[in-house]
Symmetry: C2
């Protein structure tokens, strides 16, 4: 018989401020909205509200532009202050031009503007950085929400990404706690006893993409979604889980050809 | 109050043979499984069962290897027959080495082995090609399923893709009918009246990824999922919809840097 997975979007979270107790706010929302947490729920949270709660908003008008920022500012047509902020989180600039500033962040993720982002942030010159370490943010939220609810949970921190060779953005997982982000099918057989073509399913990225269906891009004010009913969860207490999704250049089948 | 999207996996589809009436089989499964179709349902279908129904299985032992195939066969350690089949669907070889054969298909999609695939196909030397035109397959399935059910539907054909710079595979949309595959947020404002950072959400890819959560990789025998409750659908009668998701090299922000 049909198997059903539910994606439940919480819309009573409200606007988040620096210092807010996000676990408590999410827990209260599940109760207010009659969507009490259950064992094995996966809670997908937009990085933006975690950045806000963790105080990662920066008014770039207070930044003294670095010497290095000025060239990039000219090339990309962005302000030297904004570039200075982006460089703080970047290990390496991969592309700098008017269309895009693409970097490898210090935490290894490749993304536009090091994830520094203006949308849904109040104040004309105020920008949000990504959470300092989204895996640790996910771990803390998981611990708190498990304590409050008494249920076994997993957390995914989701951020919006552009992708090589595809039009449009989707959500990726940039922080993970409680479950393996990748399902390893190595050694498993297909319906007819042959080896499966694909060995690793990026489950955490699929969960993030699925959550966007209900969360939208911010104006909907649904920054949290609960995904319920997934059969293939592999629980884990490992840390640094999101790093498993980030591929080194040497291993990238697509490097240099796109 | 909480908003819910459901992903309903159908597990009574069974094995599909060349010539099978897939619309009828899917329709019957929705009734058998007490999951009758509703208006605005999106039906995500694995490309593999469409390939099978459309007779896109090839026994490569019957193929006479082309001259061109022999060099690629040596480099990639695949059989010249398999390479010959892959070349039939390829416009250009982007990378050929032991780790991977990456091509731009004649329909524009960049993928491994031109989508030619062994998994869940019966017979040691039998491989599945992608449907000849997955948008047209989607249109036909939509027309038939709308006629059978009397409901307004959308269809996504999903295939498993590896991605640059990320570990693991996810499902992408390679065929679309009935809805815009991309939501265009241009001109919309964020919570505080500023422009949104991201302008295009790849909704069809998110739907494909979400469906994989219930469908799995074949052994689960859930090749079809119904996604219900999505608010942001934009209905359309346009054709060639999946092409909107495929980015030309010139427009690719990431070209050459990964």
């Amino acid at each position: 018989m049909a198997q059903t997975i539910s994606i439940i979007g919480l819309d009573s979270i409200g606007l988040i401020q620096s210092g807010d107790d996000l676990s408590r706010i999410i827990y209260d929302a599940t109760r207010t909205e009659k969507s009490e947490l259950q064992n094995n729920d996966i809670i997908v949270i937009s990085q933006k509200i975690i950045s806000k709660a963790e105080g990662q908003l920066v008014d770039i008008s207070t930044i003294k532009p670095s010497a290095r920022s000025k060239d990039f500012a000219k090339t990309t047509n962005k302000s030297p202050q904004l570039i200075t902020l982006i460089l703080q989180d970047s290990a390496r600039i991969l592309r700098a031009e008017r269309r895009a500033l693409i970097v490898r962040r210090k935490d290894g993720f490749i993304c536009l503007n090091a994830g520094v982002d203006k949308s849904n942030v109040k104040g004309k010159t105020v920008y949000a950085r990504l959470p300092n370490n989204s895996d640790i943010s996910a771990q803390k939220l998981r611990a708190n929400l498990e304590r409050l609810s008494g249920k076994k949970l997993a957390i995914i921190v989701a951020d919006t990404y552009s992708r090589p060779s595809r039009v449009g953005q989707v959500e990726f997982a940039i922080g993970v706690a409680g479950i393996q982000p990748i399902i390893d099918y190595r050694g498993e057989k297909d319906l007819f006893g042959y080896e499966l073509k694909f060995k690793y399913v990026a489950l955490a990225d699929e969960l993030a993409a699925a959550a966007e269906l209900v969360m939208g891009q911010g104006t909907e004010q649904i920054p949290v979604a609960i995904i319920r009913g997934l059969g293939r969860l592999q629980h884990t207490e490992e840390t640094n889980l999101s790093k498993k999704l980030s591929l080194g250049r040497q291993k990238d089948l697509f490097s240099e050809i796109l």
